[in-house]
Structures are given as C-alpha cells and as structure tokens.
C-alpha cells in the first residue's frame, strides 16, 4: 500500500488520466445498466403490477398476446376463480385535439376481477362504465388531463380519461385500461370472443386445448423485442467490461514494465516479491475503486437530473453488482503485470 500510494501521489497526472478513463467507462456502464433495466421494466411494468404467475393464451398464438383470442365457451370450460382475470389486448394510437398522439396498448379488463380491483390510481377514479378509461401517467406527462376525451385509432367513439395510474406499461407502450366490451369493439372481434388471455395468480394452472398456460417469465421472454433488447444491452455492458479489463491491464502493464529495473534492485536488496505484487494489486484496486466511485457519483447526479420520460431505472443492487464486476475486472487486469513482477530477475540490473 505504501508503494502504491506514494507512486500515485508522485505521478498524479498519469494516474488521474487512468482514473478518468475508468470513470468514463464505469459511468457508461452504469448508465447503460440503468437504461437496460428501465427499458426492461417498461416492457413488464403492467404485468408485474398484477402479480400473476401464469398467462393462458390460445396455443396457436405463438406466445403473442396480440395474436391470441379466447372464446366465451373456452372461458366457461376453464371456469375462472378469484385468482384469474381476463384481459383483451389491442395496440392503439390515442389522440386528443391538441396533444401528441401516443402509441398505446389498450387492455380491456373486467371490473369484477382482480386486475381492476387492485388497480392503483394516482388520481381520478376507476372506470365505471364503458367508454371510460384509466391510463398510464405517461399521458399525464404528455399533457393529458382527467376528463380529456381521447379517440383510439380511427374510431369515432370518444373515451373519457377518468383516472391515471403509475407504471402501467406493456412492451414499452403506456397502457389504457378499459372495459372488455370496448376492447371487443376496437378489435372488431366476433361476439363470442371473450378476451385475449387469462392471467392467473395460480402457479400451475390446468388448461385444456386449444388453451395453453405459460409461466409469466416465459411469457415476458417472448414479448416482441424484449429478449433481443436485453441481449443487446448485456452485450454492450459485457464489451465495456472487457474494454475496461484491457485498459487497466495495458496501463498497469506499461507502468509496471517501466518499474521493473527498480523492482529488480529491490529484489536484489532482499525486498520480497510479495511486497511488489501487493503494491501492484493495491494500485489497480485504488484506480478502479476511485474510478467507480466517481462514476457512481456522476450516475447519481444523472439520476436526479434525468427527466422522468427517459426510461431509466437506477436500481442500487444491480448497479452495485456491476460495480463489483468492474472491481473483479480490475483484479484480472492486474494479473498480467503481476506475472512480470514475479518473474523479475535481480541479476538483470547488476553488470554493465
């Protein structure tokens, strides 16, 4: 530690440059992680808020909610309990005179079932009759107000916003909760169509063909674009980790190589290589810890100044895990120079 600190103190510019580099990398990793989490949540917020374990779709729907239709007979055969709820999904474009159009997901639900019952509002009241809707607060952020009348797709029917709810997003789109009969109208579905899916709090739900039960996780994985998006972010974060590994390894390697003649003298003088190895490890730890802490501070500042509309989720455990990953990376990056420290030959400096 003595050597590591003394050297950093003496070579401030050199080491601030490296720390600066690590700050940028860790900041980028933190922001990307938050963005990835934020987007992932916008895919699943609505589903998560229902606390369901099973999603029942038509087996021919290819695990795609918008392709699935369930008839009243199938619902009757299934026999719904208090733990089950129907949803009818359709993608719509919502518009209202002066405000921006918003691409949304209309979810028809039954007022007597748990989704409607458990719906938490930030303002207004739940829908009581058809043509009333409760919408995600994304609408509020875009300037919509209670009692605004919105039109969906090309329909002439106006829907009245009677309430706002928080974190109701499905597949990135804000959710418009309405009645199942309104959904049937929007969907132009046959009268015997009952819903798109049954969601259930029951873990292992028995269903009969043509219905098929999926776990909520399996359903989420199949949300359009969801897996691809997560994979992209994981790859980017992974690459950044590798880059930081290389940066740290190269810098420490160069710095160490320059010191090898000095280290050889120390070895000749009987200073154990353990001391020199520890100094190298301590240095990489100090550099990364410094960089990650400053990166974390920048991320915190960013979190507080970021407009609510940006889909970012600053999840402390996730970010801490990423930070720990960077620390491990730094240790790995220190291995290369440590090898040359261990192999330094004290004889090499004597002679000439």
């Amino acid at each position: 530690m003595f050597l590591a600190l003394k050297e950093i103190k003496r070579e401030k510019l050199r080491y601030s440059l490296i720390i600066g580099m690590i700050v940028l990398i860790s900041y980028l990793i933190f922001i990307l992680t938050s963005l990835a989490l934020g987007l992932a949540r916008q895919n699943t917020d609505a589903i998560n808020s229902w606390n369901v374990n099973t999603v029942v779709l038509n087996q021919d729907a290819n695990v795609n909610l918008s392709q699935s239709l369930i008839t009243d007979k199938q619902v009757k055969d299934q026999g719904l309990t208090g733990k089950d709820a129907l949803i009818g999904q359709i993608s719509v474009v919502a518009k209202e005179g002066q405000h921006d159009k918003i691409s949304s997901t209309f979810l028809g639900i039954d007022n007597n079932q748990f989704i409607a019952k458990n719906l938490k509002l930030t303002s207004g009241h739940k829908m009581k009759k058809s043509h009333e809707v409760v919408v995600d607060d994304k609408f509020e952020q875009s300037g919509y107000k209670l009692n605004d009348k919105i039109k969906l797709n090309n329909d002439d029917v106006a829907y009245k916003i009677v309430g706002f709810t928080h974190n109701a997003k499905l597949n990135i789109a804000p959710v418009i909760y309405g009645s199942l009969s309104d959904w049937r109208t929007l969907k132009h579905a046959l009268p015997q169509t009952e819903a798109s899916a049954i969601v259930s709090k029951t873990k292992k739900l028995d269903v009969s063909t043509p219905l098929k039960a999926y776990t909520t996780n399996a359903f989420i994985e199949k949300l359009p674009g969801y897996s691809a998006q997560n994979m992209t972010f994981s790859l980017m974060i992974g690459f950044l980790m590798v880059i930081s590994l290389i940066v740290i390894a190269i810098f420490l390697y160069i710095l160490t190589i320059q010191k090898l003649p000095n280290y050889a003298v120390l070895r000749a003088q009987g200073i154990p290589s353990r001391v020199l190895v520890w100094s190298t490890i301590a240095q990489s730890l100090i550099l990364v810890l410094g960089g990650v802490i400053i990166g974390a501070i920048l991320t915190t500042i960013t979190a507080f100044t970021m407009p609510a509309a940006v889909p970012m989720a600053f999840d402390i455990p996730a970010l801490a895990a990423v930070g720990a990953g960077l620390m491990v990376t730094a240790l790995l990056g220190g291995l290369l120079p440590i090898r040359s420290v261990i192999k330094v030959d004290p004889v090499s400096v004597i002679g000439g």
């Binding site: 003394k6 003496r10 000095n262 003298v265 003088q269 004597i350």
Partner: protein, 228 residues
C-alpha cells in the same frame, strides 16, 4: 571469528556450445569482517558476475559460496532473500532508486519490510551528513545529480546495517573529492563497525583504502600487492 564470505573454486560459464563464454575461472576468495577487499579489473573481466555470485543472486556453474557460515547451496530462495535483506548491502552500479519515493521514503520502505535492526535515526542522520546528502532528504531521485543519487544508494544499502557490503563500481559517478570521502566511509565501515566490505571497480583511486586487493583479468582472480 566466522569468515564473512568464502568462495571456493568458482567457475561461471554463460551460454552453451559455440556461444559459450567462460567468465570466471577457478576463483577462490575470502573476506573477513573488519576488512575492505578491493577487486580491480577492466570492463568485461567478470567483476559484476563475481559480485552477483558472492551476493547469492546467481548460482555459479560450479564451486561453493558460504556467507556467515551459511552455504548458499543448501539455502532456499526465501532464506537467500532473507540473507540479502539482513546481512548483505548491495551498492549497485546502476543506482536505481525508486523514482517516486523521496530520499526519506527510500529508507521508510526498508522499515516496512525489515522492522528491526535498521540504523537508528541518529545513525542515519550521521551517515547522511557524512555523505553530504542530509539536506536532500525530501527530494526525489530525479531532482538529484548522478553523484547525489549514488550517495543515496550507498546510504540505502547501509541502512539495514548489513554485516557484508558488496559494491559494484560505487564511485563511477563521483568526482575525486567525493571518491576520497566514499572510500573513507567504506573503510570506516570495515574498521570501526567490523563489516566485511567488498568493492569491485576499475577505479584505481580506491586503492588507498584497501586491506586486501585482487586483480581480475578475463575471469582469473589474483592477489595483488597493495602498493601497486
């Protein structure tokens, strides 16, 4: 009294086959505590090789080395390391001081590794004064001249209070007045503090301080008369 260094029938051969160089030929050497041994020879004669073998940094091709009655051959790497830390002070030709440590911290580093039996603060101050570097204690090596660095390196080697001092061209960067002082310092260490001092050099100016003198030519060590 135990002999400080005893080297018997040392041969050192570098390389193999056509590239083979026989650098030391049947070298026998003995140094007692309280004496200054001077080994004089031209460049390439094998002086540094001799010193690395004496200091346990290199195992000779054949022959044996005993330091304070400890045979290098029977010692582990760790034991040799400990021996170098406690009993041997190297003053090297390339006086590599750690560039990011002040003069003071060069000594502090020794304290970190070897907790006991280093020079006391007064002893160190006296040594630094003797070497004329007592006012440079807060300077970094890059802020010192070559001669000053050399003297710091000498002080650094003496700081752990070793019983044996091995010096490779210790006066290379010094002017004549300094050579006198450093020569005096080494002979005081031998005579007043009972150390075994071995200096290899091509610098004839150190002759006056020697208790025993050798010449080395093409790896052959021969005893020489002091009043050459």
């Amino acid at each position: 009294m135990t002999t400080a260094i005893e080297m018997s029938d040392i041969n050192q051969i570098y390389g193999k086959g056509i590239a083979e160089v026989h650098v030391l030929h049947d070298v026998n050497f003995k140094a007692e505590p309280g004496t200054l041994s001077l080994i004089i020879g031209p460049s390439g004669s094998g002086k540094s090789t001799f010193l690395t073998i004496a200091g346990g940094l290199r195992t000779p091709t054949s022959g044996s080395v005993k330091v304070n009655n400890q045979n290098y051959h029977d010692s582990s790497r760790k034991e040799l390391e400990k021996l170098r830390l406690n009993d041997i002070g190297f003053v090297l030709q390339n006086y590599h001081l750690l560039p990011f440590l002040t003069v003071r911290d060069q000594f502090k580093l020794v304290d970190k590794v070897k907790k006991n039996n280093n020079l006391s603060t007064e002893e160190l101050n006296t040594l630094l004064k003797q070497l004329g570097i007592d006012d440079l204690i807060n300077k970094y090596p890059t802020e010192l001249s070559g001669g000053q660095q050399q003297r710091v390196a000498i002080a650094r080697a003496l700081y752990p209070d070793p019983s044996i001092i091995l010096a490779d061209e210790p006066t290379a960067a010094l002017d004549s007045a300094r050579v006198e002082e450093v020569g005096k310092l080494f002979s005081d260490l031998a005579h007043e503090r009972n150390k075994a001092v071995v200096i290899v050099t091509h610098d004839l100016r150190l002759r006056a301080f020697a208790d025993q003198m050798f010449e080395i030519n093409d790896g052959i060590l021969t005893k020489a008369a002091i009043d050459l």
